[in-house]
Amino acid sequence: MINFEEEIKKFKPCLEIEDAEQAIYDYNSKDMTDILSEMVKEIKNDK
């Protein structure tokens, strides 16, 4: 049977519309090409 107390802990508050602007600023938009570029730069610096 489901453990109510445990399940409740998994529910998190929803972002409210007023928080949308901050959520957009906080969004991590790094993609694979960014990671690749960073890796190449790191290798270059190590050399």
Binding site: A20, L36, V40
Partner: protein, 455 residues
Amino acid sequence: MSNLCPKCGQGLNNDGFCEHCKIFFQVYEKIKMVSKAFYNQGLQLSNVRDLSGAINTLQKSIRYDKNNIEARNLLGLVYFEIGETVLALQQWVISKHLDPTDNAAERYLKDIQENQAHLEKLSSAIKRYNQALVHTQQSNEDLAAIQLKKAISLNPKFIKAYLLLSLCYINEQQIQKAQSTLQKVLLIDKNNYIARKYYDSITDETVKETSEEQERKHQEDVSFARRVPVFVSSSWHQVILVAVGAVVGLGLAIFLISPSQLKALKSKNISLEEQITNSAALLKENAAALENETAKVQELTQANNKLETDLIASQDIQGDTSKILAALQFKDNNDLVSSAEALYSIDVTRVEGTPFYELYESLKNEVYEKVAVNAYNKGYSLNNSNYEQAIEQYNLSLKLVQDAYYSDKALYYRGVAYTKLAQVEEAKRDFNSLIVNYPNSIRVKDATWQLSQLQ
């Protein structure tokens, strides 16, 4: 192949290598292809309403290529579809920022901005969900359920609200309601993991109870089958062997049990009898002591039960007090229906004698009447258009107030609505109730006629 690096925009050499990024153009192309493959998969999953799967896949798609505008826009749409308004807005705003020209995200954002009333509703639904979450954490499931129902009425695709509501129902053992709520989630997002987990859990429990019964019956049958006598094949050899064994055994017994041995056995028997008497006395003493201890344990258990009952009662009173305060807050926000629902869920016997009783009564008198008359009027306006909704409104009106000038009419029109929906038993019940409880009503004659038509 383009001559410019898609990452930095600088020129590529003849091998397609970007000197600035130190990466071959083909690597970027491959990454973009993977992103597109994920997008296609996400699109397919969205089309079959596997929205959880689609979110997962589309997130991967934009993780590979953040400039995959189609994937980002679709992710926003899927978020919007499950009631995650802010996450949808987030994706569309970023999408518009990345590609300002001819972008579908612009249209989505424009649609939302132009429909402020709808946006208000979505915002209010989120606030109510968050409030419900707080109520649930404070063990006020009744208030949480009221808020969640309201949130769902404001945003009927708010998956999180459905899930939390179903959890409240499960906690209160309202399994059918929980199942129906979870089915609504699965209609929106057919592979929603949490909904499936809850649904399977409550369905398994129900099935388990019936299957345990069957299992027990089966076990009984099996044990009965095991008791079937076993026939051993006999032969002359076996019979002779048994007879020889018996004769040898008898001879040994006569040889061993001589008179002197019998005497020794007698004295041993007497000593054993004495031991038994002593043991019986000791047992009696122990039994008395045990009885004494049991009585003490019972006393302690009773005291403990009383303490637990007192604690539950005090928690109940605390819960009811929060409901009164919530009702007051609802009233201040002009949400009289929620206020009435909160008051209705209070157990009056627990509030009586507390300082909150007066506040409860005054609130009830003020709110119930307004909500009941309003519900009656709403029901009346829906009489010829939507019988189900009309019945809901009459139910609300009659639940709160039964002795108002319109109560008999509410009962009559509800009966008529039931008749229109071919729910004959409910209709008969209402007409009979009108005749018995409101004998002076002008609708008695009509109710009698309606009843004669239903016979």
